[in-house]
Symmetry: C2
Subunit: 442 residues, 2 copies
């Protein structure tokens, strides 16, 4: 007999089936043994009655995380026992035969319990099995899927971005060195230069790609390796075209999440944000004025926003516009990378933007300079060596339309969407200064 | 007026439209100027008649790779002028207005011309714009899409694999060192250990992920950074379940390519292989016997296959079974990584396989050891330190079903599918010993 996935059991009421998975919990009610069994698709309750002697004997032995296959009958649950939060919540399995496929050692702690961050990270191979973390990374997989789905539909082509690079693309980010045979190479801090080159090839490109920042921060906002959801495209009028596509992209992602991940959002007690047809946008200077007037702090002379400012602006956007997202545009030329487009009508400021969501910056984007001479001039003005950019500059030497794009941090987006408090919780195997899986020795 | 994508023009016959893109070629026929214009979706012929004086003046100036937007009328082509190989081959645009969006410097050579490999690699930002390379990487994007599509449908969950790791996962592969703050870290040579850990979490997982090999080879088969298409899943009977899912996966990919990439395959003069319902499989020893009998070389004492052996076996599979794919199974225990499952019925040999396609190994896979004690024993027997694997071993300590998986090289698959002769041609920005974009200085 073929093994059946748990989410398909409801359609098999009354039938005999074989299922297989991990023992999530075993509960004994007198002689009755209940097992919550977990597989790729969900969790189902299995009941082992004492009259199935052999199965019952085995059931008394199994503990959390043991792997078993179970033969049994699919029974409809009484109306009032139906659990609508589970894919197979309307049925249960009456086990007639249990086979142990893999035993588990005794768990060091309850895998779904409250753990401090170090214990959590030390034990990821086990604790990732909890309902909570499984929900987090299911949602993350759906974000990835919806991101690609939308952009493919919009005629973007997926590209593969190299991770080993000859230098720091943007100039300024902290970068990891790589021993590359007899040379020094680096880990990419951004796919920026490659995706711009590829606009010349495919006009519209995207990538979900790992980037690396050698930042010595140890905060709830930073990890040293993360996933950047990037897109870049030609024939834009200005940065607002990029903001418009991000708005539609976010709408698509949220729609898909509400179709595919309701159970996960319910479990995590998180809500899917509404994306307005037009996400409110403020120039940085306007935003600073708002902070001064509404929150009493004068940051109008700062070239950038501090974390507290971002939280205030999100609070403001929600109250004033009913939006959980807000764009901040027109950062000063000198605070942005050399390729950022200066606004002709607002000299000294750029056609660039950040997107804030629930108190955190989750996207940076904008229009890029597409004129070769201007780029060469800026590379010098930024104190960089144009010979280091000769490869990149070819793309602009040989014809490049007005273009722009954005990069969105997958883990930060996941974190904020699900109301987590640390980006590490939204990263499968987070890399931090003193930890690669296990703590690094002194 | 909204700009229209080229592939949508056929539906607009008789209408006035605006299109935009790169000048692929300009041809003058007396006073008549023809421009092949290229955008994200295809190429269309634009004709500029001398009576549209202003447009005609501009058209005399434009050259290859200039970026323009063109207003004009969509005219049906006469029956015998229809080019069925182009998405807009049944129409042409009669230009009434041309706007230059970006000029291009004179091209150093014809971008579609025959180039030696160094010139090609030195000029990728330009030469990637040729029809040929665009076709190659479109196909690659479709392979990625079809890979994910199939596995999502099969209830696999996508996972993000870290690239910075604490050590060499498999033991044996040449590895790049990373300066990780005050520590030494490495670039992942494979997602193996992480995907196995994640079988404990999601049962069925996949990733398309970059891996890094510090191999000093400079051959047509090697690159130092490549994309591994990985899957791993639980509750298998043995390695044949993995081979079966690969067979179905390949069927799906080839189906999708024949739906979505006929134009690209035609352009590259490549054929989409037929995937048999059952791909032929030989044990390594049987394969070596075939080589001896059919091709006269005795390699029966070798623990592995040489490139020439792989080519011969593919030749044999095509002739004997009508298959462009062939599985080779049962490599010796000592030639495979520590986690490879030994065949109880064929001691000394493993339940592992390679898949050969058109003369090249494109996949390695098999059943893995899922028993904790056995893994610990093997790690020692392989001369590795079990404390380096403590993280990984947790997954097996706490219950792991019989499981297996595979890794497929995206670039090699692309290369062989499209009949290219060098894996670098199937890699967007290939990393090799002496080159990261530009040649590394001595």
């Amino acid at each position: 007999m073929e093994r059946i996935f748990i989410e398909d059991l409801s359609a098999r009421t009354g039938e005999e089936v074989i299922i297989a998975g991990w023992v999530d919990v075993r509960r004994d009610h007198g002689k009755l043994i209940f097992i919550d069994l977990r597989d790729a698709t969900g969790t189902v309750q299995v009941v082992v009655l004492p009259n199935h002697t052999e199965a019952h004997d085995i059931a008394t032995k199994v503990r959390g995380e043991w792997v078993v296959s179970i033969r049994g009958k699919v029974n409809k649950r009484p109306e009032k026992m139906v659990n609508p939060d589970l894919p197979a919540g309307d049925i249960e399995i009456e086990a007639t035969e249990i086979t142990i496929l893999s035993e588990a050692q005794e768990l060091p702690f309850e895998k779904s319990g409250e753990l401090n961050l170090d214990t959590y990270l030390d034990n990821l191979p086990l604790v990732l099995r909890s309902d909570r973390t499984r929900a987090i990374f299911r949602v993350q997989a759906e974000i990835l899927r919806a991101f690609r789905e939308f952009l493919t539909e919009e005629r973007f082509t997926e590209i593969r971005i190299p991770k080993i690079v000859g230098g720091d693309a943007e100039g300024g980010a902290a970068v990891f060195g790589v021993d590359y045979f007899d040379h020094k190479a680096y880990l990419a801090t951004s796919p920026q230069l490659y995706k711009q080159i590829m606009v010349g090839v495919f006009e519209r490109v995207f990538a979900a790609t790992s980037v690396f920042r050698a930042e010595k921060h140890s905060t709830t906002r930073h990890i040293n390796e993360y996933t950047s959801l990037d897109l870049e495209f030609g024939f834009i009028k200005d940065h607002r075209d990029v903001m418009a596509i991000e708005t539609r992209l976010l709408k698509h992602v949220m729609n898909r999440l509400s179709q595919r991940c309701t159970r996960e959002f319910a479990l995590l007690d998180a809500t899917i944000p509404k994306v307005l047809d037009e996400i409110p946008a403020l120039k940085l200077r306007e935003a600073q004025q708002v902070i001064k007037e509404e929150f009493g702090e004068d940051c109008t002379n700062e070239p950038d926003l501090e974390p507290q400012h971002e939280r205030w602006l999100c609070e403001y956007a929600l109250k004033k516009f009913g939006s959980e997202f807000i764009f901040i545009t027109h950062y000063p030329v000198k605070k942005r990378p050399f390729y950022t487009y200066e606004d002709e009508d607002d000299k000294g400021y750029t056609k660039s933007f950040d997107l804030l969501f629930r108190g955190l910056e989750v996207t940076t984007g904008g229009q890029r300079i597409n004129d070769y001479d201007m780029l060469v001039k800026n590379i010098k003005a930024w104190g960089l060596k144009s010979e280091n950019f000769s490869y990149y500059l070819q793309a602009f030497k040989y014809g490049m339309p007005p273009e722009g794009g954005l990069g969105m941090g997958l883990e930060r987006l996941t974190e904020k969407l699900l109301g987590l408090t640390n980006v590490k919780e939204a990263t499968l195997f987070p890399r931090e200064m003193n930890r690669i899986d296990t703590l690094l020795s002194e």
